[in-house]
């Protein structure tokens, strides 16, 4: 039975567009804050994961690539990735890296360091990204944040694509920090002691 397509089933287009725009003008990276705040606000205010369940374009993108484009091997994830300590550990690691990124932005803001026109992949590899930014367009820290935030978005997409290929299409959703965080918020909100 075919399911009815809703408007939000097309949000993957925005997710794809976001990644593409970063190659042309890094400042678009700021828009990514939306996929940071919207899920958090929904879970805090409504106490549900409708962001993951309905609106998340990234999840849809993985699903499309994996199912429609048949790029996924559809294998089960190794158990350790599904474990609580890995999911919570990855969330903690992600948050630490996020705050380091904020701190780097602060250093540029305060003048202690210069703007680095690079995108860091997998928290390690610095890729020159000066083609997507004309020096002096905006205050340096605004550009620094854009580079930093886009690094996070591209890195998580990369990880997601790798696990999409080797495991189930939306394997990323198992260890996605936003998904883990919103689930935790929902648990806290429901006041349940369920594991």
């Amino acid at each position: 039975m075919k399911k009815k397509f809703m408007w939000y089933d097309y949000l993957w287009i925005l997710s794809a567009l976001y990644l593409i725009l970063g190659f042309f003008n890094i400042l678009f990276a700021w828009l990514g804050l939306l996929c940071f705040f919207i899920p958090l606000i929904i879970s805090i205010v409504r106490g549900n994961k409708s962001y993951c369940n309905k609106y998340c374009g990234r999840g849809q993108l993985f699903s499309l690539l994996g199912n429609k484009c048949k790029l996924s091997m559809n294998k089960p994830l190794p158990n350790f990735i599904k474990s609580k300590w890995f999911r919570y550990g990855f969330l903690a690691f992600f948050m630490i890296m996020f705050f380091i990124m904020i701190f780097n932005t602060y250093l540029v803001f305060s003048g202690a360091s210069d703007l680095k026109e690079a995108v860091t992949l997998l928290w390690t590899f610095k890729v020159p990204w000066d083609f997507a930014y004309t020096a002096g367009t905006v205050t340096p820290w605004i550009a620094q944040f854009a580079f930093g935030f886009y690094s996070i978005m591209l890195t998580s997409t990369l990880l997601g694509i790798i696990t999409m290929i080797f495991f189930k299409p939306r394997a990323w959703c198992v260890y996605c920090p936003m998904g883990t965080m919103t689930q935790l918020i929902c648990k806290a909100k429901a006041g349940t002691s369920k594991e």
């Binding site: 549900n48 929902c186 648990k187």
Partner: protein, 63 residues
Amino acid sequence: MPKRKAFINKNICVACGCCLKVCPKNAIEIFKGIYAQTHDDKCVGCGLCAKSCPADAIELTKN
């Protein structure tokens, strides 16, 4: 005759909603954003949800 039904392990479920999207009978809902729940009366045991679940939290059981 025993019928197959989807059974969701709440402890593994990440509440992503993949199962929700594929269930042809709308037999699944996400309980308060914490885990997925099936409605046994609606579930026809097709197994689509289990196939889509990235956390492999769904099993089909006979009851």
